[in-house]
Symmetry: C2
Subunit: 138 residues, 2 copies
C-alpha cells in the first residue's frame, strides 16, 4: 500500500512553507511525526520508529531534522528530563503534565491554566514563552 498522496502532498507543502527542502528523509520523518495526533518524542524513539518501518535514515539526520524542524517552527523542544530532549508536535500554546515515575508527558491545553500575574523581565528582555510543567507523582 502506497502512502496517501494527499498526506504526502500536505507534508511536502508544510516543509516548503517552513523554508525546508522536502528531501526524502525529511518527508518520511515529517510524516511519522505529523500523521498522527500530537506527540512527544525523543530522537532515539523516532530513530527506532523509522527503522521499524524500514525507513533508511541515519541518526545524525534524525537530529538534524528535529533541530531544523524546531528552528523553523514545526516542532517545539521541551526540557523536563535532564538528559533527554523531547520534541513536541503540538506547537500551539499549551503546557504539560510530567509524570515523574514514567517520564511521560501529557499536554495541558493553554486554557486550563490561568496565569493572572507575571513579572516584567529585566531591562531589555522580552518574554518569548512561558512554560508551565505540572509534575505529577504517580
Amino acid at each position: 500500500m502506497t502512502p496517501s498522496p494527499k498526506t504526502t502532498k500536505a507534508v511536502f507543502d508544510r516543509l516548503r512553507a517552513a523554508g525546508l527542502r522536502p528531501t526524502r528523509q525529511r518527508l518520511a520523518l515529517a510524516k511519522l511525526l505529523f500523521a498522527q495526533g500530537p506527540r512527544h518524542i525523543t530522537a532515539e524513539a523516532l530513530f527506532n520508529e523509522a527503522k521499524a518501518r524500514r525507513i533508511n535514515v541515519s541518526l545524525a539526520t534524525i537530529y538534524n531534522a528535529l533541530h531544523d524542524f524546531t528552528e523553523s517552527g514545526l516542532l517545539r523542544e521541551i526540557t523536563v528530563d535532564a538528559n533527554q530532549s523531547y520534541f513536541d508536535t503540538n506547537i500551539s500554546a499549551h503546557h504539560h503534565f510530567y509524570f515523574e515515575k514514567s517520564g511521560r508527558l501529557q499536554d495541558v491545553p493553554a486554557d486550563e491554566i490561568h496565569i493572572t500575574q507575571l513579572p516584567t523581565p529585566p531591562k531589555g528582555g522580552t518574554i518569548s514563552r512561558v512554560d508551565v510543567v505540572i509534575r505529577v507523582a504517580d
Copy 2:
C-alpha cells in the same frame, strides 16, 4: 584565614539535620553552595569552584553530593537546558526567568506569579510541584 566556625557549625548541623554524614567534602561543598545567597550551579561549575579554592574533591563526589543534597531536600534540581543539570540552593517555592541567549537563570519569587486555575491530574496522580519557566529572549 580560617573559615568562620559559626558558618562551619551551621553547615555541619544542616547536613546532620538532613540525615547526611558531615564528611570533609560534603562540608566543603555545602559551604560553597550555601555560604552566599541563592545560586544556580552546575556540577562542572561547582567542581571548578572547588578546585579554585584548593578543595580536593573528585568529580564523582560532586555528583554524589549534589544528588544526596537534592534527595534530602537541601537543593532542588532545575531542568531548563536539555543537556546540563542546574542545582538551585533556593528550595523555597519560586519560579525562574531563563535567559535563552546566555543560559542564565534568575529566581522569580512565588508571589510574582499568580496561577488561579490548574487542571486536575489524571486519576491517582498528585501534583508534586508546578514549575514555571519564563523564557526571555535577551
